[in-house]
Symmetry: C2
Subunit: 548 residues, 2 copies
Amino acid sequence: MFGLMQDRPLLISSLIEHANTFHVRTEIVSRLPEGPIRRSSWGQVRQRAQQVANALNQLGIRPGDRVGTLAWNSDRHLALYFGVSGSGAVLHTINPRLFPEQIDYIVNHAEDQVIFFDVGFAPLVARLAPSCRTVKHFVAMTDRATMPAAEIPNLLCWQDLVEGQSADFTWPAFDERTASSLCYTSGTTGNPKGVLYSHRSTVLHTLMELAPDTFGISSEETVMLIVPMFHANAWGTPYAAAMAGTRLVLPGPHLDGASVYQLMKDERVTFSQGVPTVWLMLFQHVDAHPGLDPKELGLKRVGIGGSAVPRAMLERFENQFGAEVVQGWGMTETSPIGVISKLLPKHFALPHEELVKIKLKQGRGVWGVDLKLVGDDGQVMPWDGVSRGHLHVRGPWIASGYFKGEGGTKLDAEGFFPTGDVATIDPDGYLQLVDRAKDVIKSGGEWISSIDVENAAMGHPAVAEAAIIGVAHPKWQERPLLLVVRRPGQEVTREQLLDFLSTRMAKWWLPDDVVFVTELPHTATGKLLKTRLREQYQDHVLPTVDRA
Amino acid sequence: MFGLMQDRPLLISSLIEHANTFHVRTEIVSRLPEGPIRRSSWGQVRQRAQQVANALNQLGIRPGDRVGTLAWNSDRHLALYFGVSGSGAVLHTINPRLFPEQIDYIVNHAEDQVIFFDVGFAPLVARLAPSCRTVKHFVAMTDRATMPAAEIPNLLCWQDLVEGQSADFTWPAFDERTASSLCYTSGTTGNPKGVLYSHRSTVLHTLMELAPDTFGISSEETVMLIVPMFHANAWGTPYAAAMAGTRLVLPGPHLDGASVYQLMKDERVTFSQGVPTVWLMLFQHVDAHPGLDPKELGLKRVGIGGSAVPRAMLERFENQFGAEVVQGWGMTETSPIGVISKLLPKHFALPHEELVKIKLKQGRGVWGVDLKLVGDDGQVMPWDGVSRGHLHVRGPWIASGYFKGEGGTKLDAEGFFPTGDVATIDPDGYLQLVDRAKDVIKSGGEWISSIDVENAAMGHPAVAEAAIIGVAHPKWQERPLLLVVRRPGQEVTREQLLDFLSTRMAKWWLPDDVVFVTELPHTATGKLLKTRLREQYQDHVLPTVDRA
């Protein structure tokens, strides 16, 4: 027997309609690539979104067609978020930081029909255009006066195409499982793979993003969205801000410390989200201007994800900025909310050192995301804070597979998605990442965490960057090899470094060898490219190997 | 094209599983009918819920069967919330305050198969049992030692039936549109009608209840649930508390001011929800004990709904308790969240008088509830804060009709549900109730708000209660007649009262006559029974009628 409740599909268009109805004049502040501020509103973004829908219709875009974006965070990108998905097409946010060959692959794999781009990306688009076989139109997201000079075929101007449209458009109703958006993950191996979100998954994820136990997005906040809109739906915040009627501040490409600081101050930002890298740039700016008191910003909370929050960052936000740090773990495949680090009431009275330990874990599970740790032999591992396992996740905003079936069947027998991360979970459900599964080093059947050893090595003042990989060992199967880039002008020897590490980890975790290098290879998004390191050092003979 | 996200149904069982996984030891504090406190936990409630599911199975209850409850707020009632719905049966919460004939009608209409009841309701159950044709078992929610002595057929004991079961039970998966629970509305006319919720509507409503712009339920709170669990899902809070892992305090039948105050203090309650009546009892307790300083409670917020919040109540909570008031409007048919009164940032700097005006409105729309004002001729009325219209609502947690088709087709052509309320909505989306549609007085084609006139009359110190009804008038179709119950020992004349009112409303709203009565008729839930008043005074001749 079914309930007798209204049968309303969960659609992204309902978010922008809500914002328009109840928060029509709430500001959307965009810093343009050229520098000045443009002040818009939820009402205007909705109108632009309707114009986008009419423009797509004029261009012959049909439901399910992919519409690409190569753009920074702005009110125009926001209008595309709602206009493209709302009309029934699929918003494909492309990461412009990828290597051009990867973008080329992605655009062709997604079969994008149109690409909207910020003028700053015109040279990139000009270079890519000839090989983008499916793209019928390139739309520069700018005014007639500032159209790019680059040679781009089928080039259209946002002002002409979008702003000239009627704003009369009624969002279509359709099945909530319809695809809404597409985002490719850039792994360290193989081609990027596309995660295809649905209207349903997006709306459910958005609801959870409002919860105080996650990011607590509300109409009281002014949220500065530093995490790029091409990066896992900007953590879902464009949608959550519409659902809550939040005032949004969008910094465009201006992510340097000085720009971020000034914009936060001018616009009285209360909450901001970003990866550790941008916060380090913000700290550098503060360091370079000793007269600044960051408490003047009135920043209340900072959401940090993408990689683990260093202790110094946590304490600096708390002490120097007076801001609470909300750490999270997730991935493109998880929309991205996976776990969020919020304290439980029983923690409030703990001594500082104990508190910090909990805060530095990636976070606790939220409703909607089931977690499972799986051992090497498929057994379910206990949540004791010590046992390690492959992290599997399940829930209505977790991917079931990749676009066009790339990577094959992903879900395990219980419907969980394997994340490729190795983690521990404590009895309160706090997850701590140990490693990427493929980076784990197995010594005599036991796992050595590359993250822990690398972090310890980077704690040495002479170390700029460190990478640890497993190298074949006849007795232990694998033993760790440490690769180190020294800081300019600093010296440290192999023995000094091993001495340093020996007080910081179990003896059997200590690297068997150290190699000093001038640089380490990275992916386009800045991750260590360990596959290349493993190839490069596959024949490295550890001094601990008995050559007899 | 569908997205590639996991296909997970939204089921109530996922809420209690989440609470058990991530908040297993978080306390559920129940005050027993006998007085003492029982301390349980989310883990234990989940175990009891599993035992309930096994017990229902043993009793032959199948998916879709209705299971009634006649119970106060307790951990056992909470276990029934999750155990009954989680197993696929329908939880039918019966309001024990209804007249016995109404309960009799409801139980038979719902075709309840089992009824769980608190021992305090044993005399009621004994009286009702013979006419409950479908009920095969009555379960006293108590231990063997305290089983009721009343003559009840097929009587079972909770301790035997439930606590003796295995806690090994895997929640079944099924379509999220499956009926989960049933609650009858007690209108002022006709038989009660059943609202049949679904798992989907319940989970979506629960997600919204976590939002800071509604009740902001989180793991940081200790929530005292005063609103009864037989009243519109206790505003959804049992579900929200499970989803967030909130510490819950359940007061049982002890809703007098002294008990509520003491329990709030002992259990360090931070948020509590209830109707104005219970707060008036709390205030009376504080008044009777001048030594008390309610700020000692540490109460941060109070959720109030069910009827409009009087200004004095708002100001008293703010000033004397230091607690924010979160007013809401909703009804059984809206799960119940309809609108919630939260200020917007632009209001923060307003002078007190302006702020109070906004806070006393019922609230602003939340995502998921579309609002529409419909005029008498079916035209859509503007949101100008002045124009009145019939309030229609639409959304995934709004009823589409009543159980077994009672009341016929309810939705209008756009899929909105007519609430029977008349309201205004201002440009910011704040709704203010004007009247129940059937209580509106139409004078010369214009609406006079009975709520406003009654509130004004009750502002006179000699008036204990007031009711206004429309009486036939040859010239104006209807004119208002005011019925007044004087406070004991107080005097006020017809002319003094009209004088008093004349400075408080437009001249044409002034009642044409005043009749003093010793009491006014009410429904079982305390609403004024205006249908009876209108019958009683249908021949009343107003002094303003020209008898020539």
